[in-house]
Subunit: 218 residues, 2 copies
C-alpha cells in the first residue's frame, strides 16, 4: 500500500498498528479551492500525497491571514483538533492546488499516540515546526512593514512554483497577508515602477529578484 | 521530594524514571527581572513552583512582544529547544516576579519523551496550549486595534494580580504588546479621560472594568 511510503514513521509502528491505520485511512482527491476543514471539529489528520494546502485564520469580518502552507508528504495536524484537547483555535484548511491526500481518522491517530512514544514524538516535532512558522509570522507582522511582507511573499511563491511568472490575484495576496486588496495593489504598482515586477491581469511577473530580496530584508 | 507534587505526570513515570529525574533536577530561586533563557540553547525545562515568567521575542531593534506568560505549576518547554529539533526560533524567558522553579535537564527530559508515550503526549498538550496562545496573539495583532489590546492587557493584569491597582510602567506595557511607550501613554490618557483608569507615577488604577471590557471587545 502506498500510504506506507508516505507516512514518515511507518517503520516505527508495530505490525498490528500498521494494519489498523492502513485499514482505516481513506484516500481523497480534492480540487483547488476545496475547504477541507473549518473550525473546531475532527475531520482527521491529512497526509498530502501531492498538491498544496493552506491553513489560515479568519477575522469576524471575513479577513484572512495564512498561518502556514503544506506540501507533498506534509501532515496536517490541526484538522484533528480533538486529538489534543489543548488546541483551542479555529483554523481553516483549503486546497491551494488540486490535491491528493489521505485522511487518518482522529481517534485512530489518538490511539496510536497513546500507545507509541514514536508517534507522539513525531507529532511533537510537527507541532514544534508549525510553532516556529507561526512565530516567524508574528515577527513578520510585528516588525516588518507591508512592502517587505509583499516582497517576501512573492519570493516565496516564486520558489514554490519554481517560476517567475505567478498566476495570482492581488486579492489572494491580500488574503495570505491579512491585509486589503487595495494595499497590495498599491505596493505592486510601486514595485512595478521600481522595475521589480511586471503586472498584467491575474499575473505578477518577477523581473528583479535581487532587488525584491533586498527590499524584503531577508 | 516536593518536585513530585508539582510535576503533573509524575505518577505516570516508572519508578526508575522517577529516580532519574529526581536525581537530576535542580532547584533555583530567581529575582524579578532575571533572564532565564535567551536564544537557542539548552537551559533545560523550567517547572514553576511559584512566581511568574514571561516569554517574549525581540526585534533586531530591541523591541519586544510577549508570546505567553507562565504561572505556578506551568512548564516552560521552549527553554530547552534542543529537545525538539523543529524548534527554530529565538525566545527570551524572563522572571516577571521573584520565582522559584525546578530546572529539568534537556537530555533527561528528551530521554523520558523517547521512552514514555505519557511524557511525550503531555509535551504535545503543552505545545498545543502554547500554540493556541500564539494564535490568539496573531488574531490580536492582526485584527485588533491597539486601544483594544491595551484594554485587554490591563484586564489580564488585573486578573493575574487580583487587584485594580497595577504597579506597571507604560514602557512595560509597550514591551508586552510590541509597541512604543508613547503609543501606550496616549491610550492610557484617553482611557483616563473616559474614566476607565486613573494614572499616577508607575501606577495604573482600573476604575471602570466594565467599560474597559466593552472596549476590549471580549
Amino acid at each position: 500500500m502506498e500510504f506506507s511510503e508516505y507516512f514518515p514513521i511507518w517503520n516505527q509502528l508495530k505490525p498490528r498498528q500498521q494494519e489498523t491505520i492502513a485499514d482505516k485511512v481513506t484516500f481523497r482527491a480534492v480540487k483547488k479551492g476545496a475547504i477541507l476543514y473549518s473550525g473546531i471539529d475532527c475531520t482527521g489528520l491529512l497526509l498530502i500525497k501531492s498538491g498544496q494546502l493552506r491553513a489560515f485564520i479568519l477575522s469576524k469580518e471575513g479577513r484572512e491571514v495564512t498561518i502556514y502552507r503544506l506540501f507533498d508528504r506534509d501532515l496536517c495536524l490541526f484538522s484533528a483538533s480533538c486529538v489534543l484537547r489543548s488546541i483551542q483555535f479555529d483554523i481553516t484548511v483549503m486546497a491551494e492546488k488540486d490535491t491528493e491526500l489521505w485522511v487518518i481518522p482522529a481517534d485512530i491517530y489518538k490511539q496510536l499516540m497513546e500507545q507509541s512514544a514514536a508517534v507522539s514524538n513525531y507529532t511533537n516535532e510537527i507541532m514544534a515546526s508549525r510553532f516556529s512558522e507561526v512565530l516567524w509570522l508574528v515577527e513578520q507582522i510585528m516588525w516588518n512593514s507591508m512592502d517587505k511582507r509583499v516582497a517576501s511573499f512573492l519570493l516565496e511563491e516564486a520558489a514554490i512554483e519554481d517560476a517567475s511568472l505567478l498566476h495570482i490575484t492581488h486579492e489572494t495576496i491580500a488574503n495570505h497577508l491579512g491585509t486589503h486588496r487595495e494595499v497590495v495593489t498599491r505596493m505592486l504598482r510601486y514595485f512595478q515602477s521600481e522595475g521589480m515586477v511586471k503586472l498584467s491581469r491575474g499575473v505578477v511577473e518577477l523581473t528583479d529578484r535581487t532587488k525584491l530580496k533586498n527590499l524584503s530584508g531577508a
